[in-house]
């Protein structure tokens, strides 16, 4: 029984490996859940995309919806839901590839990487070797996820068109509850010592990238104005702008005259996300723009 079982398993793995080898390039967006999408993204970057893309976005779910092709023709969105910009920076640093440009989301820049949240960074060299050479061990090629992706592509085609209007519907009752929860979560500002330590850590991290010739653009994703005004949010924003504008980093703030709608206080609707991306692109193409809050923006053509 044991021998036959092992034979069946080996046979299945061999067939599956052949399938991945022949059709792997047609398989995309296989993540089944938010957590898995993060892992797939991280694995995909490490094992397939690191050398292909010279422009990257790091951040949280707030930046996940940013349409990458608006920013650059060769841009990989490494923003991961539930994680922070630091997680993405860590992945890039560990990959050993120094990209030309990184867009760094400011909102979660001071949120440290929690233990166990980024499983891929805990892989031993043996595991890394196995994941690199045995594709069936990667999250991207989980059979159920692959089945889902193939089914989706078969039903909707490879390039699924999403109407922006579908993302404009906002459940206002839910929005209020979500904002209330976010306000509750952000009731207490971070202690100064924690804030200082994080700023110091992040500065060191970003300086390392700059030393390797990587250009950094820090951008703030707009959130519900009530959340933007909490002591927690303001303290983080001040700490970042004070530190990095003085160091001649490029910072992009949301358009203060625009109204961005969110689904839950922190995530932009698809429509608002397009508006914001447009603003981001326009701002970056305007040389030496002086922002109302005094942050100096340096012209950078991504």
């Amino acid at each position: 029984m044991i021998q036959k079982t092992l034979l069946i398993t080996t046979l299945s793995l061999t067939l599956y490996s052949a399938l991945i080898y022949w059709f792997g390039h047609d398989i995309s967006r296989t993540g089944q859940t938010v957590a898995q999408r993060n892992l797939v993204k991280a694995e995909e970057y490490r094992y397939e995309a690191a050398e292909q893309f010279d422009t990257l976005i790091v951040g949280s779910s707030m930046s996940e919806r940013i349409p990458t092709d608006s920013l650059a023709s060769s841009c990989y969105n490494l923003a991961m839901a539930g994680l922070s910009s630091q997680a993405g920076l860590k992945l890039i640093r560990e990959s050993g590839h120094w990209p030309r440009l990184i867009y760094v989301e400011m909102n979660t820049l001071l949120t440290p990487v929690r233990p166990n949240e980024l499983l891929i960074d805990q892989e031993t060299p043996v595991e890394q070797f196995m994941h690199e050479h045995l594709a069936f061990l990667r999250q991207k090629y989980q059979p159920i996820g692959v089945f889902k992706a193939l089914l989706r592509d078969w039903q909707y085609g490879k390039n699924q068109v999403v109407a922006v209007e579908t993302g404009l519907r906002v459940d206002s009752a839910f929005l209020e509850k979500a904002v209330a929860k976010a306000l509750l979560d952000q009731q207490r500002p971070l202690p100064d010592s924690v804030l200082r330590a994080q700023v110091k850590f992040v500065k060191h991290e970003l300086d390392t990238f700059r030393q390797h010739g990587t250009q950094i653009i820090l951008f703030e994703v707009p959130v519900d104005p009530r959340i933007q005004q909490t002591a927690f949010s303001r303290a983080i924003k001040t700490a970042i702008t004070d530190t990095f504008s003085a160091l001649d980093y490029t910072l992009v703030m949301p358009d203060s005259s625009a109204v961005y709608s969110t689904t839950d206080g922190v995530h932009l609707t698809y429509g608002a996300c397009f508006d914001y991306t447009h603003h981001l692109c326009t701002t970056l193409r305007t040389p030496r723009l002086q922002m109302p809050n005094g942050v100096r923006l340096v012209s950078n053509q991504p």
């Binding site: 029984m1 044991i2 046979l11 299945s12 089944q32 069936f136 059979p143 159920i144 839910f174 509850k177």
Partner: protein, 470 residues
Amino acid sequence: MLFTSPSFVLLTLLTLGVYYLPVLRRWQVLILTIASLIFYASNQANLLWLLLLSVLINIAASYLVIYGRPQYRRFHAVWGVVANLSILLFFKYGPLVSNTFLRTDQGVGAWLLGLPLPIGISFFTFQGISLVVDTYRNRDVPAFRSLIAHSLLNHAGTVLFFKGFFPQLVSGPIVKAYSFLPQIRPKFWQHINWDYCFRTLVAGYFLKMVVADNLKDHTVLMTYPYFEALSSLTLLSLLLGYSMQIFADFAGYSLIALGLAALFGYQLPANFNFPYVAASFSDFWRRWHISLSSFLREYLYIPLGGNRHGSFRTYLNLLLTMVLGGLWHGAAWSYMIWGLAHGLALVVERWLSDRQLLVSASTTARLLKSVWVFVYVTIAWLLFRLPEFDHVLAYLKAIGLNQQKPHDTLAISFIMLYSIPVVMYHAAYVLRERNVRLKGLQWEFVPYGLMLFMIITNSGKSGSFIYFQF
């Protein structure tokens, strides 16, 4: 170090290799004890002292019950149980007391709130109680007395091994002293039942890594207030998914524990017996977490009087046992309410059966009862997933109100897909029970082979076992 981590597999393989070396046969217990301590320390090294303190208490209490002065035997048993319970109460329920009765921002309240929860404390405490109580109850039984070595050092080694044996250390099954101690004897490689070990481990890892760990990433949507944005159907699917997840998680863990213990020549009690086919609540508790329910029956319900003092006392004992059983699961009032809900169900069921109102034995009646028990049990799991009672009510309310919201078809599909193995697992049992001859049994290596394939390729993001927190 989780059962699913490569480091654990390495530890097990190394221990197994050393354990069966003929020259080291007389040190087998010591080898397993060292491996167990490494396992515990790798999870929570800073609280290893607490496990050892608990072991010391049980060494002393059980030894004194047998070899102490006869007139103090009862006293030794009582302080042994009280000391065990005190550790549990202090570490597990200190934060609850603090949250409920004290100021949590300063003084004792803040200190209690900051207490760490030792992994597996509920399990190793109950095993300690079992050792002390079993020793006291069997103090005059020569066969049991012989298990308590006269040499204090040997006895200490036995107790440390009994409480620390790593397959069951952190999440059970809760092993009773009278069933485990007689198994401590030299083990031989050729006596390993490889077929049993292989099947149990493959089924256990499949349930945990493929079913539970994948469902876990979907049921994360059951978070307040985010679930309020989901449709009724999505919410019902999530609830079903959580019910399947908690079964797959704990039953999977228990199967792995059984398989691992069998590799070392020890037989642990089965912890699950297809609980979701239960046709009554008492049947459910004979099938779910069997080692806990039998512990509660033997060491709490029966000592309280069981059903020997009339209907009212029986109902009261049932309620009390289930409420305490609920609180055993976690230091939150929601767990107590969960226990109360099950206690009430048992009381009502008993009241009905006392009056011969549950006598229909037709297949349809049995099926309906099974469905009812499953629905009730599944709704009660909400108290596990959402420890805030207000959030539980909000969830139930959302099920009723959110009929017009769009369905999350992807989440629903995945939940159904990952729930299929649990349904099939139970269905196969029902068919076996009904003596339906399943064709193709000689091909059973195919599903096992595919399960192994799925473990390798389709495991979810590794997460703690739900019962680790208890």
